[in-house]
Each structure stands twice: as structure tokens, then as C-alpha cells.
């Protein structure tokens, strides 16, 4: 199909609002009668709450509502309902909400917090997930078995194990017997903060007569949050309404309720007045969510010629105090620790252990960052030991079309080898190394990633065409900053045959927009794009049917492009507007609805009982990185990143580049600069001066390279691109450091201290 918009870098639909300062984010929402909230948080990592006295706070100036866990005895959690809105009988991390205040001003709310008295009895706490798994460790959730949970995941009652899964293929012992060399390495990847520039925030309003809640939020999945909140409160979905604002960054961190439940708790008692809660930066860094830290042991059997015989993995994930989406992170992460390679025998074990810390959540990459760190670091170790070039060994084992994933799913549109070759070419792989410049030594490293998308999931939308030819696209996909509105409008414009400028994409309102599983898992373009395509085709067909009646011809003989109808009997080309004016003299609407789910797609076929592990599309990418290490200071500088991605089809190339370039920055920032400093569960560096992010001064040369493989079920061939790019950056940097100075860093972050210590040990 010829496209006018798909494949072009049209400017963002939300661009004008954003460069003029008019875009409304959650922190900008102002409503009449609004109250402002503040939250009292636990100073202890693990303690029993013996009593809370709020009487003085309730009498403080400006205060309208004070709530504690007793007032809102609800729990939430998409996979295990283990998290209270506010702590009830105990606190499980430093920063856990214990009481909340709504007042006429934020200052009065903050002042009132000091008047709340809480009596605690401290309990032993556990901060290391490996210790949390040992007998006799303090148990965070003695009632774990009683919680409502999704039954596909296993817990171990009476322990801190909130998820344990094993996955085997073939016979791993046999695989190790066949191996010429066995590699056994331990890796650690640290927790990092999502650090969206817009902290978590929510505005909630309660309508007592209807027992209904409206929540303004920049969440990445308004329908899923609405479903979860309705479930917690025991109300129907028409009593919970989420209204999306623009989002000042999410990266997975806005994939669970954080500020929302606290604003709702206060709004329930505020006599209809809306309540706004904006997290401070300190709260964002200490009491929202993190990327899960993980300890990974990886045992791999290899033939001397560089082929795999077996892989065994044992992963322990640091859950923090509550499950959030960690269960799925730990499960899906485990499944990609095989990397994008053919391995005949595998045995994978994943355990997620509660600890007395801020909880981990979804983080761009959803488990693949953690496992790719181990998989791709070890791949480099293997290559060097076997004397095979790191690029060659990857090419030798790389998945190609027709290969089977570990559940037997046949892989299609696998652009992995092209990403390896393109990234290698761009970085000048194999070129002679430049001479060290004093103490500065250069090196080059490479790493790849395989990433599935959550499957199956659903996207619904509808398209409304009014009599004047203008179009509104109602989808449940929020604009989290990745260009969702623009991409969906491009697909709609080409499918219907109308100008892009005639399409409006409002922010999501769950009272109006139909269900969508959210912008997680790089799924939005593929899933919602397909729903939009289906809805757009219905609208187009109806337009052509109407036009055919008017023009006294058959719909099949007409076509529509840019709002002009051409074909037999259309004469010089009638406009869509004139056809609609004739059909709807008093006004009228054409509605087209679309639903896409990959459920039942033949592409998902796999070994019996293992179909749930299939992904409707697989993303592949390779980053080749050149770095410079200063052997005197230990400082690593990233010079160039060649980032090649199999995107299926770039619906909007500039938006794809943004995702790739942005996650390269995020990946290098995570790997080199970011680290929580803690003492007894308390985060000591809760400011952006002390929790370091990459700045513009750290920007390397980034060359995004897009490989188009045209997925057969993707809208116009598209897959996804937002998530995988964060994963290969860290191992490619570590591999480049090895290339430069011969030291192997196995635990993140890669700090100058670790480099110097490793150099010292080597000497």
C-alpha cells in the first residue's frame, strides 16, 4: 500500500504544545477547590505500628483531611495484592506512606505532618535478597499465602519468595557433558531510579453520590490502573475514571500506582474537593520504584568451535518490599537470559525475594537489561577464552528466520545478523587500535539483545469522523513522550485516506476511550497501530460506500486519499467533505472501531503447554561502542555508540531515532554514573546532585541504524523500539573496557574506583 505519512518523519502532534509551554502535565493540573497533599513516611526499614495519633494534625490550620491505613484498608498490586494504600500494621521500607494530609496549601499539609505521632516497634530488617532467602531471615509478608494473586506465578508461603519459576529445555547435564569448555560466572546489576523529570503526581476527586473516583495521572496504562483501582476499592469500572495528562517521562516507573492511591485515599474524605499530590524529588528517589537489582549466576557449556551446548542460570532478584510488576519482570527476564542465540539445553531458575527496601518495578527493558548484562558480558568472556572474535561468535550463534525460541516458537523477521553487521561496520570493528594517548586507552565492545513483547495483550480504539471531515482518534494509548499520538495519527491518516492535519488525538480518558493494555513492553505501535488500522479501514469503507451511493457507482471502484475521492464516476475527484455534506445535511458521524489481540495467531504456535512464552514479535538490537579509559583516574568516557535496531518498519524514523538515542544515554548513565548509597535501608543520596545522571557533557557520538524487516502482522510491518535499546549499552561498555585494559567488571555500576582496583589487582 502506498503511504503518504507512514515511513515519514512528520513532526510530532504534541510538539507545538511542548515548545510553547502549553502542554499540561499532571503537576500542572489545577481544579477549583483543590486541596494539596503531603505524606508522612516511615523512618524505619521494618517496624510494627503500635499506634498513630492524628488528632493534633487534624486540628492544624488549613487541614481538611488526615488519613491512615485504618481509614482506607485496601491493598493493590497487579500480580499480588500485597501493597496497602497506607501502611496498616507494619512498615516494610524507609519511606513507606504511614499517614497523609490534605490541606488548603502544600505548606500547611507539610506543617501538619509534624503533628502526627506514630509509635513504632522496630523489627529486624533484611536488605540483601540472598540473605532474604536464607532460613531465619526476617519475613516481610507472613500472610503472603492469603493475598489475592494471579495464579500463574508460584510463591513459597512462610518465606520471602514472592515468585519462583524454573524453565528447562532438553537436558542441561547432557549439554555440559558435550561441552569442551564450561564457563561459570557471577554478575551483579544494581538498582537504579527511573528519575522522570516530572516526579510522580496525581489529582483525585471523589463523587460521594455516585461513589465514583476521577484520577488525573501521567501513568503509562490508564485502563490497567483503572481496573486495578476499581478492584481494590470494590467498585465498577464506571465508577473509576483515569484522565491522562502529558507525561514528563515514565520509563516503566509510571507503570504502577504510586501517588494515585494516596490521592484517592485523601479524596475519599474531602467532601468532593479534588486532592493533588506531587512527589518531591526526594520522595521520587526514595519512595517510588526502582529497577530491580539482581544477582545472576550463569553457567554455559561451549564447543571449541564456538557453538553452545548448554546454559544454566540462577537469578536472584531484589524485590524490595512489594511485588508491583516484579513478578513478571523476574519471569520474563529469566526467559531471555539465553540471549538471541541457539542453545540446545537450558535450565533456568528465577527467584524474586522480598527485602526491606523501596520496591522494584517495571523499568525500560522489563528484565532484559538485567539478564543481558550477564549474557552479553559472558559472551565476551567466552569469545576471548576460545580465541574467537566477539562479533564473529555472535554471528555464528545468532538467531535467524526459522530458528526456534526455547519454547519452540518459530522466529520470523529476525534482523539480528544485520544489526550485528551494521553496528560492527559503523564502529569500524577490527580496525587497528589507536596508540594510547598518555594514560588514555581506547577499546571497542559489542553486545546484542533479544526482547519479546507481552503476549497476548489487547488494544481497542475507535475513530470518529464528523460531517466536516475532521477525525478524532480515541485510543487508550497515552502519550508518554515517545510519540504515540503521532505514530497512531500517521497510521490513521494513511488507512482512512485523509490528511494528517485533519486528525486529533486527545489525551486518554478511560470514560471515553476503550480498553488498552498501556504503553508497556514496546507494544503500543504494534498493537494499537493494528487496532487503528482496523478501525480506519472500517471508516474508509463506509466513506466509499456513501460516496458510491451518491455517485451511483460501486465502492470498490473508488479510492480515497488526502480527503479526495477518485475513481470511476467520481469525475474530477470529489472531496470527502462534499460527500459528507450531502450524506449528513443536519450533521452526522461515522464511527469505526478496532480491536487487536494476537491471541490465536499462528505465529504463536509452540511446544504444547509452552505457548504462553511466545511473543507476537521479537525485537533485536546490537550496540557497538568505542570508549576511552583513563588508567590514572579510572574514568571511562564513551566516545561513540553505533546502535543498530531491527524495528520492523520505522513508521516515523525520527521518533525511532529518539528512542534509540535516548536509551543509549539512559544505558550509559545507568552503567557509569547512577548508584543508590544506602545505610540501614535509608537512601543517602536522594538529590539529583548526589544521584548522578548523564548530562549533555556526557553525550557521545550516537549513530542510530534502523534495520527494516517488515513483520507480517505488524501495522505496515512495524515492531517496537522503545525498550530494547537500554539493555546492550552496559555490557558493550564493559566489553570495550576489557578490550582497552584487559580488566573485566562483573558488577554494575562501573565506577572509577572499580576500574582502578581491578587494574591494581591485575598488576
Amino acid at each position: 500500500m502506498k503511504t503518504l505519512y507512514v515511513g515519514k518523519s512528520v513532526p510530532r502532534l504534541d510538539g507545538m504544545e511542548k515548545v510553547t509551554g502549553r502542554a499540561v502535565y499532571c503537576v500542572d493540573v489545577e481544579l477549583p477547590g483543590m486541596l494539596y497533599a503531603a505524606v508522612l513516611r516511615s523512618p524505619h526499614a521494618h517496624a510494627r505500628i503500635l499506634g498513630i495519633d492524628t488528632s493534633q494534625a487534624k486540628a492544624a490550620p488549613g487541614v481538611k483531611v488526615v488519613v491512615t491505613g485504618k481509614d482506607v484498608p485496601y491493598t493493590f498490586g497487579e500480580m499480588i495484592k500485597d501493597q496497602p494504600f497506607l501502611a496498616m500494621d507494619r512498615v516494610r521500607y524507609v519511606g513507606e506512606p504511614v499517614a497523609a494530609v490534605a490541606a488548603e496549601s502544600e505548606l500547611e499539609a507539610l506543617e501538619a505532618l509534624r503533628k502526627i505521632q506514630v509509635e513504632y516497634e522496630e523489627m529486624p530488617a533484611v536488605f540483601d535478597p540472598r540473605e532474604a532467602l536464607r532460613d531465619g531471615a526476617p519475613i516481610l509478608h507472613p500472610d503472603l499465602a492469603e493475598y489475592v494473586r494471579s495464579s500463574i506465578y508460584d510463591i513459597v508461603p512462610g518465606t520471602n519468595v514472592c515468585m519462583i519459576r524454573r524453565y528447562s529445555l532438553g537436558n542441561v547435564e547432557e549439554g555440559f557433558r558435550e561441552a569442551d569448555e564450561i564457563f561459570d560466572d557471577e554478575f551483579y546489576i544494581h538498582a537504579v531510579a527511573h528519575t522522570p523529570m516530572e516526579t510522580h503526581a496525581a489529582v483525585a476527586q471523589y463523587a460521594p453520590l455516585e461513589n465514583a473516583f476521577t484520577v488525573w495521572s501521567s501513568t503509562d496504562g490508564p485502563h490497567r490502573r483503572a481496573k486495578e483501582l476499581a478492584g481494590s476499592l470494590g467498585v465498577s469500572l464506571n465508577q473509576v475514571r483515569f484522565i491522562s495528562t502529558y507525561s514528563g517521562g515514565g520509563f516503566g516507573g509510571k507503570g504502577s500506582m504510586v501517588a494515585e492511591v494516596l490521592a484517592v485515599a485523601l479524596a475519599k474524605f474531602s467532601r468532593g474537593r479534588p486532592v493533588k499530590l506531587v512527589y518531591s524529588r526526594e520522595e521520587e528517589l526514595t519512595a517510588s520504584q526502582t529497577r530491580h537489582a539482581a544477582f545472576l549466576r550463569l553457567k554455559t557449556g561451549m564447543k571449541r568451535d564456538g557453538t553452545f551446548t548448554a546454559r544454566q542460570a540462577d537469578i536472584i532478584w531484589d524485590k524490595g518490599a512489594y511485588a508491583s510488576k516484579g513478578i513478571d519482570v523476574a519471569y520474563r527476564g529469566m526467559l531471555t537470559i539465553v540471549g538471541p542465540y541457539r542453545i540446545p539445553h537450558v535450565d533456568l531458575l528465577s527467584r524474586l525475594a522480598y527485602t526491606n527496601k523501596q520496591c522494584g518495578g517495571a523499568y525500560r527493558g522489563f528484565g532484559t537489561i538485567q539478564v543481558t548484562w550477564a549474557c552479553e558480558s559472558q559472551m565476551d568472556i567466552i569469545a576471548h577464552k576460545l580465541g574467537i572474535d566477539p562479533l564473529e561468535i555472535r554471528l555464528k550463534n545468532a538467531y535467524v528466520d526459522g530458528d526456534r525460541y526455547i519454547n519452540g516458537q518459530v522466529l520470523t523477521t529476525v534482523g539480528l545478523k544485520e544489526t550485528l553487521r551494521e553496528a560492527g561496520r559503523e564502529i569500524g570493528w577490527g580496525k587497528p587500535k589507536p596508540k594510547p594517548d598518555g594514560t588514555k586507552v581506547r577499546g571497542t565492545g559489542i553486545a546484542s539483545v533479544i526482547k519479546p513483547t507481552a503476549t497476548p495483550t489487547d488494544s481497542y480504539c475507535y475513530i470518529k469522523l464528523s460531517q466536516d471531515g475532521s477525525v478524532v482518534l480515541f485510543s487508550g494509548t497515552p502519550e508518554i513522550g515517545a510519540g504515540q499520538k503521532t505514530v497512531l495519527a500517521q497510521i490513521a491518516a494513511d488507512t482512512i485516506g485523509v490528511p494528517l492535519s485533519s486528525i486529533a488525538v486527545p489525551n486518554v480518558d478511560t470514560a471515553v476511550a476503550p480498553f488498552d493494555s498501556g504503553t508497556t513492553s514496546s507494544r503500543a505501535t504494534f498493537h494499537m497501530g493494528n487496532a487503528v488500522r482496523l478501525a480506519g479501514e472500517k471508516v474508509r469503507r463506509e466513506i466509499l460506500t456513501i460516496a458510491a451511493e451518491i455517485l451511483n457507482t460501486e465502492p470498490d471502484r473508488l479510492s480515497l486519499s488526502e480527503g479526495i475521492i477518485t475513481g470511476d464516476g467520481a469525475g474530477e475527484g470529489k472531496t470527502l467533505v462534499s460527500v459528507l455534506a450531502k450524506k449528513f445535511p443536519r450533521g452526522g458521524t461515522i464511527l469505526g472501531e478496532g480491536h487487536y489481540s494476537p491471541e490465536g495467531s499462528p505465529l504463536l504456535a509452540a511446544m504444547p503447554g509452552r505457548e504462553r512464552l511466545s511473543s507476537i514479535f521479537w525485537m533485536f538490537a546490537t550496540h557497538a561502542i568505542e570508549i576511552e579509559v583513563d588508567t590514572e583516574t579510572g574514568i571511562v568516557r564513551v566516545l561513540k555508540v553505533a546502535a543498530a535496531h531491527d524495528v520492523g518498519r520505522a513508521i516515523n524514523p525520527v521518533l525511532c531515532e529518539q528512542q534509540i538515542e535516548g536509551s543509549v544515554i539512559m544505558g550509559l548513565s545507568n552503567a557509569l554514573f547512577e548508584e543508590f548509597r544506602t545505610a540501614k535501608g535509608r537512601i543517602l543520596n536522594a538529590t539529583l546532585a548526589d544521584y548522578k545522571l548523564a548530562t549533555m557533557m556526557d553525550l557521545p557520538e550516537i549513530v542510530p541504524l534502523m534495520i527494516e524487516t517488515y513483520h507480517q502482522e505488524g501495522p505496515f510491518g512495524a515492531k517496537g523500539v522503545g525498550e530494547p535499546a537500554a539493555a546492550p549499552t552496559a555490557p558493550a561498555i564493559a566489553n570495550a573496557i576489557f578490550d582497552a585494559i584487559g580488566v573485566r567488571i562483573k558488577d554494575l555500576p562501573i565506577t572509577p574506583e572499580k576500574i582502578l582496583a581491578a587494574l591494581h589487582e591485575k598488576r
Binding site: G21, L688, T695, L699
Partner: protein, 158 residues
Amino acid sequence: MKVPIKLLVNGEPHQLEVAPNETLVELLRERLHLTGTKEGCGVGDCGTCIVLLEGIPVNSCLVLAVDANGRHVATIEGLGDERKLHPLQESYLEKGAVQCGFCTPGMIMSGKALLDQNPAAGEDEIRRALSGVLCRCGAYKKIVEAVKAAGEKMQGAR
């Protein structure tokens, strides 16, 4: 206790009474409803609240409202609108420098302060001038390109 102050915001005169501890970002956002300026940390680390005070970029969370008395403040709202965009805003759109957009006002105002002084600023100067604003989307590459392109436009217009 409130203190009377007068200031010009985007060329418009305002007369207000402010608390001694009120910050400029609070005044702009809460009193004047100019919410284009964002507050990302409140302690001067992130740069999303940068506005121009007498043409100089400042973290408006670190400036007390009383200290803006008698001075000119420029915010993103005064820069341009869809009828007439500033070259920086135009280049931002053309080069794809916007992602989530939350740091965009601070970045653009920092860029304006630089280009007003030196529209021929090179990449190193641009990076230094904008390094006080954090962007977690990591849009740095295209932001540098946009500022460079805007500088070229401004030079051409001279």
C-alpha cells in the same frame, strides 16, 4: 508578612504581594499560572525551572520572588506561539528535539540565553550552556542540533 513587588514578566507588568520565602517558580506557576516553567527538584539540580532574569538564565526555584522586584523575567510563554515561533522553538520541532517535553522549556530558555549572546556558538559552547538542564529521555543529541540550527537562523536574520 507580605512584601509588595513589581516585576515585568514577558514584557507584562505585574504588581503582587509575596511571602518572603516564596520562590520565583512558585510565583510564576501558582500566582501567574505560567505553568510552562517546570519544577523538577526544587533545589537547583535539574534545571527544568530555568527562566531568564534580565537575560541571564537562573534556576527559578533558587530565586526568591522578592529578588525579582523591579526586574524583567522571560519565560517560555513569552518566547513565541503558533503564529510566530522563535527560531529555537522552530528548530526544536524540525530536528525532533522534543520527547516527553518536560525539560523543553528549561532547555529552550538556556539556549536562548546562549544564542542571544552568541548565535554562532559551537557544539562545545552549546553543551556547556545547556548542561545545567537534565533530560531523562536523553534527547541531548537532537537538542544540540536544534540549538545549532536555531543559531544559524538567527545569524541569517541579522
